[in-house]
């Protein structure tokens, strides 16, 4: 749609007076800002020599948590894959091994395409057993697209490294199946 002439408001640039035409006040103002920063608090981060300390709720690379027995905590319910707005999670579920007495279902494969992911944290939010978490690992690089597709083993290894390094302790409750399946807190 073309603009109507009545919608257009013409503005003239303000005329410079004698004081503005001197440019000196503006120059002095600029120098004052520069010198002020030279003696003020240093803000520049010396990355990568110094790595930043990120808050624990930072949303970086995913990990799959392990339970006390070292098994993957995930029950392959597909809630994360359903919640994911980028469709980057692919799960293949299977009946759990018979020796896992407390489970009926587990993920045979669990793949996250870290390139497709938008790091919104919805998967973490959706997980009923607190199995998927976003860590503070932010410097994710790879030499190919394939390297950036993380499978179950890789995601579990992220859990192992981040918990060993102490950067990301397991911050969620050691989940049973869901809060609704547990008795209410004792009054």
């Amino acid at each position: 749609m073309a603009l109507a002439e009545s919608d257009v408001k013409w503005v003239d640039a303000p005329k410079l007076g004698f004081w503005e035409q001197l440019y000196l006040p503006a120059l002095v103002d600029g120098v004052r800002t520069t010198v002020g920063h030279m003696f003020g608090k240093k803000l520049t981060e010396q990355y990568p020599e110094q790595e930043p300390k990120l808050p624990p709720n930072y949303r970086g690379v995913h990990r799959l948590n392990r339970d006390e027995a070292g098994r993957v905590k995930c029950v392959a319910c597909y809630m994360c894959a359903t919640a994911c707005p980028a469709h980057c999670i692919d799960i293949v579920a299977a009946p759990a091994p018979p020796e896992w007495r407390d489970r009926e279902k587990y993920p045979e494969t669990f793949v996250i395409d870290e390139l497709r992911c938008i790091y919104c944290g919805m998967c973490e939010e959706a997980c009923p057993v607190d199995a998927i978490e976003l860590t503070t690992l932010y410097d994710l690089t790879g030499l190919s697209r394939e390297q950036m597709v993380f499978d179950k083993e890789k995601l579990l290894s992220v859990f192992d490294t981040t918990t060993a390094a102490g950067t990301d302790p397991v911050r969620t409750r050691a989940g049973r199946l869901s809060p609704s399946s547990e008795p209410p807190p004792a009054r």
Partner: protein, 564 residues
């Protein structure tokens, strides 16, 4: 006209024998229920359908019963007043009835029913494990739906839940998650009343009631898969579908089962062009409420890794893939040559839709009036299997469900097309020893045996064979041209069942990437232009063959009986 008042809305019930649930359904009011099923007997055991009932006298006064009653077990008659828990959402246009003052005792109509439903649900959930995240039923579970709609948001249960062990030994195809069961006994009644085989039973009493089979008699009958559909919760699971997909990813296409000539209406649940399961779709004209296990679990051929997925041409004794742009002119030339010499034989299988059969027949008869059109091998396995049976497996009258021996969906449809073009129907067995210059075998058989059983063991190909099929067979091995066929899930069309019921259906999944539908191929060979639409071909067919005239317009959902 007998009138029933459901939440003040008058509903005329005609001469029907209805219960409160059915009467409310006619008024557009859902009375939640688990154990009640239209096709099964009424036991009123789940207590989810509790409603308040009364009677409106001819003078306009209303008398209400002091207690809530199960809607499924309470018949309605002229003047019956039904007040459900949804009374506060009633039609505002309906004129309120003149309820007696002592009926509500200070409350509102429907409040007692509502509270009863909430209490019932709380009772059902006492021992329910609430493992919805790992339960395959989640998303289509009535316990979820009703808990959301009518239940409490939190549990008051403080004791440990009773969790009996699962029973994967129930059947080779079905597993029981015992702790999820709400004891509606739909499955038990199904095996007693519909299949008649009575494998399932309830053992224990009260809290310890469990569904079980008798020792050494697992749930193995040809209708067993229906108990999975019937189960309103996630207790009975099909091992075939277990953990394959979450149900909310599935898209349901209304289709017709192609595994026998009953032509059961089914939902084909699919996602990303893979068929994951078939469930029964109610059709009183074809199958009623149920389908058989052969059909239910007979979809795997469409996902088979063996499938022919691309057209191939035999060159120097070896099959080589041929793109359609090269293949179509080649086939046209071959057909024209064979038609000139009068040696064109076309075999149209009973797995083709009537539209495909019609277009193929038009094509071959158009090339040469001497072209012979033959009905493809009609697979017949055993005898018709009739249900219900008694516990020894002998059929009992009256028959309510038949699994036909004829394992193809559209013999009658293809026969009608052939009869129109050739005057009579020649079965394949009569021509199998003939040596035509070109045999076009339009197959689409879901099992190799169907094709291979029709050829004698010493059969060898003569002339050119164009084999169009889903799976590689002896015939495709000796063919010159091998063309992939599409499964019934992958096409639009019409099947005519054993009784002449024509059912149209739409496509569920897409055929393999390099495959072309039979209709598309016939269009290409006929040199037709424009979009390939089964509906347009159906119109053409209806105009050409009087028997198919009822298919000219929109075909009803339950199909239309031809020739009546």
């Amino acid at each position: 006209m007998p009138t029933v008042y459901v939440n003040d809305t008058p509903v005329e019930i005609g001469t029907g024998k209805l219960n409160c649930i059915q009467a409310a359904d006619r008024a557009g009011v859902l009375v939640p229920h688990y154990c009640y099923h239209e096709a099964l007997s009424v036991v009123a055991s789940c207590r989810m359908c509790l409603v308040e009932v009364g009677e409106r006298k001819p003078d306009g006064t209303v008398v209400m019963q002091p207690k809530v009653v199960p809607g499924c077990q309470t018949p309605v008659k002229d003047g019956t007043v039904v007040v459900t828990g949804e009374y506060d959402k009633r039609d505002p246009a309906a004129e309120p009835l003149n309820y007696p003052a002592d009926y509500t005792k200070g409350g509102k109509p429907g409040e007692r029913a509502k509270k009863s439903q909430a209490d019932t649900l709380e009772g059902l959930l006492v021992n329910h494990p609430l493992d919805c995240p790992v339960c395959d039923k989640a998303g289509e579970c009535k316990l979820q739906d009703y808990s959301y709609g009518y239940g409490r948001s939190e549990s008051r249960m403080v004791d440990d839940k009773f969790a009996p062990p699962n029973k994967p030994h129930l059947s080779s195809k079905i597993t029981l998650f015992t702790d999820r069961c709400i004891m509606c006994t739909r499955c038990v009644r199904f095996t007693r009343e519909i299949s008649g085989t009575a494998e399932l039973m309830v053992s224990g009493r009260g809290d310890h009631e469990e569904i079980d089979v008798f020792p050494g008699r697992p749930l193995e009958n040809k209708l067993s898969g229906n108990v999975v559909d019937l189960c309103p919760v996630g207790a009975l699971g099909s091992k075939d579908f277990l953990y394959k997909q979450r149900v909310w990813y599935l898209k349901a296409a209304e289709q017709v089962c192609s595994r026998c000539s009953t032509g059961c209406s089914v939902y084909v649940d699919h996602n990303k062009d893979i068929v994951y399961r078939l469930t029964a779709r109610e059709n009183p004209q074809a199958n009623g409420h149920f389908i058989c296990d052969e059909g239910r679990w007979g979809y795997h051929f469409a996902n088979s890794g063996e499938r022919l997925t691309r057209p191939q041409v035999k060159r120097e004794g070896r099959f080589q893939p041929a793109p359609w742009v090269q293949l179509t002119p080649l086939l046209k030339d071959e057909l024209a040559d064979a038609a000139k010499g009068g040696g064109l034989l076309a075999v149209l299988s009973p797995f083709l839709t009537v539209e495909e059969a019609f277009l193929y027949a038009t094509l071959f008869k158009g090339l040469s009036p001497d072209a012979r059109l033959i009905l493809g091998p009609v697979p017949v396995v055993g005898e018709d299997d009739r249900y219900p049976k008694d516990v020894r497996g002998n059929p009992v009258e009256p028959t309510t469900f038949v699994i036909r021996a004829e394992k193809c969906p559209n013999r009658r449809g293809v026969e009608a097309v052939l009869a129109h073009f050739t005057g009579s129907v020649t079965p394949f067995a009569e021509v199998v020893r003939d040596r035509p210059a070109l045999m076009w075998f339009a197959g689409g058989y879901p099992a190799k045996e169907h094709v291979e059983a029709a050829f004698p063991t010493d059969w060898t190909a003569s002339g050119t064979v164009v084999a169009q099929d889903i799976l590689p067979t002896l015939l495709t091995a000796s063919a010159e041209y091998v063309i992939p066929a599409t499964a019934s899930f992958e096409k639009d069309g019409t099947f005519v069942n054993h009784a002449g019921l024509a059912q149209t259906f739409g496509r569920a999944t897409r055929p393999p990437h390099e495959a072309r539908s039979e209709l598309q191929l016939a269009f290409d060979l006929l040199g037709r232009r424009g979009l390939v639409q089964a509906a347009a071909v159906r119109k053409e067919l209806a105009a050409a063959i009087p028997l198919f005239a009822p298919l000219a317009g929109d075909v009803p959902k339950d199909g239309v009986k031809l020739g009546s």
